[in-house]
Point group: C2
């Protein structure tokens, strides 16, 4: 995979925006469960994503960025745990953490790949930076997952969601 600097920045901006939106959603959900600790973690993630987003927008100043398609930056949906039901009403805390973890891992894999593959040195440098940041997010979520009881219904096995 290779991306030019404007292509790379467009992806990074969209990824951080999407992450902020989804973490906000997860934080609200955790708050409705009265799980204030996990809610606070997700709110921290909202803040980091927004700060990162704004700094990348600043970096992109003066460049013309391409328009992306939704599937190039959107988070994957969580797998459906309910079997028959097309639209799950809610996630358990464990599922919410795992959902976030898998999307962070996907972003981390994207940046890591560009950190080695990109032909522009500036893209490789930024991608390595961003990959390191995503790695920290993945680790933070792994720490939470280790401390969170698994739900009784197992998370459906889905190759798309396997790290």
């Amino acid at each position: 995979m290779d991306l030019s600097l404007p292509e790379f920045l467009a992806h990074a901006i969209a990824l951080e925006h999407e992450a902020a939106e989804r973490y906000l959603e997860l934080a609200d959900m955790m708050e409705s469960y009265r799980n204030d600790e996990v809610a606070a973690t997700f709110r921290d993630m909202v803040r980091y994503s927004r700060l990162h987003h704004d700094s990348i927008v600043a970096r992109a100043q003066g460049l013309k960025l391409p328009q992306l398609r939704s599937w190039q930056y959107r988070w994957r949906n969580p797998p459906e745990t309910g079997g028959e039901e097309a639209f799950d009403p809610a996630l358990t805390t464990y599922e919410a953490l795992r959902y976030a973890r898998e999307n962070e891992f996907r972003a981390q894999a994207f940046y890591s790949q560009l950190a080695t593959d990109a032909s522009e040195a500036e893209v490789r440098r930024l991608a390595a930076d961003f990959a390191a940041e995503e790695t920290e997010h993945v680790q933070a979520l792994d720490d939470w997952l280790a401390r969170t009881p698994r739900p009784s219904t197992p998370w459906r096995v889905d190759p798309q969601h396997e790290a």
Copy 2:
């Protein structure tokens, strides 16, 4: 699955909004490929989705609708055809049609299930109506798929995307 009328309308409004956004994206993509026929079909879908959206919003007037989570209405991402790559740059026409088809099928399954399961008669009636409409969209997309050459790279087998 059972939903109250406000819950049902909230899903339907979100589904139609999402469909319009995604069809617009697909239409733009087809236009960039100079595939004007398929682009025109997707633009028709945008128009139908918007009309349907507006009529459901009108039906919901005066009701307080719940807020939904993104995974309760968003289209699934297309499976990744590129293997290693986390973010596909583009879809072939065939993949775009199949992507739309699978998301329409998912909406159709959602409405069909509610048409039988819902405890409120008005929800069952509306759901049956909407399921019939989605079935037409699925058929229109199947007609296009039958006329469109498959890409040389096979669409990755993914249980989440099997009808």
